[in-house]
């Protein structure tokens, strides 16, 4: 009825009715379990967790059950469901409503992790996720809800596990996820007049990762900056960096591989403190410039 905490399901209740579109009690374990049980028996449910932070209360069903049923039962069970959840900071929601916990799920085989960075991608990736026969963790950045972009009316799909070159450039590869793709694009616009062309790669699906376009981009530019909002320690950037270091791109590196990510701290309430907790456009501009100029 409420349309979810951010209105992402607004109108669905009126369109599809109370049988298919259900309000749930605030019972995150049961929401995830209900998705799994329905998926195991022939449905393709889509669940929503109000804030990604609250998925901590669903972890058992996702990590110990949904991710493993297919493998554990010899490939005979299938759990095709999507669990949507808004993550990220920037709304003044403080420490318990602002986290980016995607890498916890990247660490779990059997789950797919998808993070759209634009309105166009959100639709195509969501439809592909619904079609997918695996459980998909679909992480939406709250600030991206306010962005606008062209979204075709037809039902197009963007295949999962396909990294996307968002912008071509010769000088520095920026691997960015979710809202950091938008910030990297803004940074690219600032750097272009200086003659610095950054290439932006958006993995879109964090797991299973399509590594090849990242490696190829780094081979081309020789310099790489990885940007995400989640806390830097144990973050997805570490995985990207180690993939690059273990790949054919290693020999082409002209500079240390750099990471920009959330500081190792909870998200503060105060607007200024919150702003300085996670990477902003100017941080990306500065880091990319230093890489391009060989100052690090």
């Amino acid at each position: 009825m409420y349309g979810g905490a951010f209105g992402v399901s607004a109108g669905l209740y009126d369109q599809f009715g109370a049988e298919r579109v259900r309000d749930t009690p605030i019972s995150e374990a049961a929401i995830a379990g209900a998705c799994l049980g329905a998926a195991l028996t022939g449905m393709r449910p889509i669940g929503e967790i109000q804030f990604m932070d609250f998925v901590t209360l669903s972890m058992e069903q996702l990590v110990l059950q949904a991710s493993k049923v297919r493998f554990m039962f010899g490939g005979k069970a299938s759990a095709p469901f999507v669990l949507r959840m808004p993550g990220g900071s920037g709304t003044g929601a403080a420490a318990q409503h602002s986290q980016s916990l995607e890498n916890w799920f990247v660490h779990v085989p059997g789950l797919k992790v998808v993070m759209p960075s634009s309105a166009y991608d959100a639709k195509g990736l969501l439809l592909a996720s619904i079609d997918d026969d695996n459980p998909v963790i679909f992480v939406e950045h709250k600030l991206l809800y306010k962005t606008k972009g062209h979204v075709p009316a037809e039902m197009y799909r963007i295949p999962l596990s396909q990294s996307h070159i968002v912008r071509q450039g010769r000088d520095v590869t920026v691997v960015a996820t979710s809202i950091m793709v938008q910030r990297a694009l803004a940074a690219a616009d600032e750097l272009a007049p200086e003659g610095i062309e950054i290439e932006i790669v958006d993995p879109r699906t964090l797991s299973p990762l399509d590594e090849e376009p990242i490696v190829e981009s780094v081979i081309k530019t020789g310099r790489v900056l990885v940007v995400h909002e989640a806390v830097i320690t144990g973050g997805f950037g570490g995985e990207i960096v180690s993939r690059i270091a273990s790949s054919a791109a290693f020999d082409y590196l002209d500079a240390p591989v750099r990471r920009l990510a959330g500081r190792h701290m909870p998200i503060p309430y105060n607007r200024t403190l919150e702003y300085h907790t996670v990477p902003q456009v100017e941080n990306i501009v500065e880091e990319a410039r230093r890489l391009a100029q060989g100052v690090y």
């Binding site: 049988e19 298919r20 259900r22 749930t24 009690p25 019972s27 374990a29 049961a30 995830a32 379990g33 209900a34 998705c35 799994l36 049980g37 329905a38 998926a39 195991l40 028996t41 022939g42 449905m43 449910p45 058992e60 069903q61 110990l64 059950q65 049923v69 297919r70 493998f71 554990m72 039962f73 010899g74 490939g75 005979k76 069970a77 299938s78 095709p80 085989p109 059997g110 797919k112 997918d132 026969d133 695996n134 299973p208």
Partner: protein, 336 residues
């Protein structure tokens, strides 16, 4: 100690006559198969032929067989728990493939990937045993919702232990099934110990079934060592669910004869207590009931036991002859 009442004799007669002698003897045989399966499991473990741990359900056979027989196994759905060999066999799954799974072989239900704690027979709607206490419980409302949306008259039987009734997931799931009026039978197999902690110490209520009140669903406690009592309660709950009247919570009070797992020294209970419960063995109890009803002779009971023993020997031979999984297939099933 919780007192459970015996079924009145006219109800016993009524149930037996509706079940019929053939099916009643099959139920007895299934209990015997489970008993021998578990004893064989213990023996194979002692011989070093089993790689992992195991949780034996010896003494609890009446709950498994009584519950499964009261629904339409293969059509309805089953979710169960880590002490699940018996549930799988009671569901009518193949003894050979169950044993092969326990022995980690390719011919097992889960191709040796699941093992003792994760036996599932997905083709026959057994959605699996579960290694996590209450892990299967929140899955059940999802199965119930799927049944409701598909408009079938299936039910979902979810079996969990007394320990699970103290997990938050149990409470979330019972509430959700209740408010959505879902066709789910919540069967708490109270074997009186969550590992070493007795349910008397773990919950401050006399009956776990009282928790049904908090969620506005019917609840009852039955003697879990009386196959007919379990059959009766689950059968009524299934009819209730199929009629669109929603979930039921049933507590089936039984007793685990063996330790929690192989590493349990059982310092938390007395030998006398175990002996007292061994005297309430559900298998001879049901056999006596059938003999008294004229549905079984002593000689036929012996024949039942022999057939059960033969099935177990055949299952071990089948599993011994089954190949190990091929390492080249190691990643199969991680993703679709």
């Amino acid at each position: 100690m919780l007192v459970t009442h015996s079924l009145p004799s006219d109800r016993v007669e009524e149930l037996l006559s509706s079940i019929g002698a053939d099916q009643a003897c099959q139920m007895l045989e299934r209990m015997q198969v489970i008993r021998y399966f578990e004893e064989k499991a213990e023996e194979l473990y002692a011989l070093g032929k089993i790689h992992g741990t195991m949780h034996l359900s010896i003494g609890q056979e009446a709950t498994a067989v009584g519950a499964s027989s009261a629904v339409r196994s293969g059509y309805d759905y089953l979710l169960n728990h880590h002490r699940g060999h018996g549930h799988c066999l009671a569901w009518g799954s193949d003894v050979n493939r169950t044993m092969a799974e326990f022995m980690g072989k390719e011919a097992g239900y889960c191709r040796g990937r699941g093992g003792s704690m994760h036996i599932a027979d997905v083709e026959r709607n057994n959605l699996g045993a579960n290694g996590i206490v209450a892990g299967g419980v929140p899955i059940a409302p999802g199965v119930g919702l799927s049944i409701k949306l598909r408009g079938t008259d299936q039910v979902c039987l979810v079996i969990f232990g007394d320990g699970a009734s103290n997990e938050g997931a149990f409470h979330e799931a019972l509430n959700l099934a209740s408010i959505w009026n879902l066709p789910v039978i919540f069967l708490c197999e109270n074997n009186q110990y969550g590992m070493s902690m007795s349910i008397q110490r773990a919950a401050n209520i006399e009956r776990i079934s009282l928790r049904a009140v908090a969620y506005g669903v019917p609840g009852e406690t039955v003697d879990g060592n009386d196959l007919l009592a379990v059959y009766d309660a689950v059968g009524r709950a299934a009819a209730h669910a199929r009629a669109g009247s929603g979930p039921t919570l049933i507590e089936s009070v039984t007793y685990r004869w063996r330790g929690h797992s192989k590493s349990d020294r059982q310092a938390y209970r007395t030998r006398d207590e175990v002996k007292e419960w061994q005297a309430k063995d559900p298998i001879p109890r049901f056999a006596r009931c059938l003999i008294e009803a004229g549905m079984l002779s002593e000689a036929e009971f012996e024949a039942v036991q022999q057939r059960a023993a033969q099935q177990i020997e055949a299952a071990v031979a089948f599993s011994d002859a089954s190949p190990e999984p091929d390492v080249s297939t190691i990643l199969e099933g991680v993703y679709a």
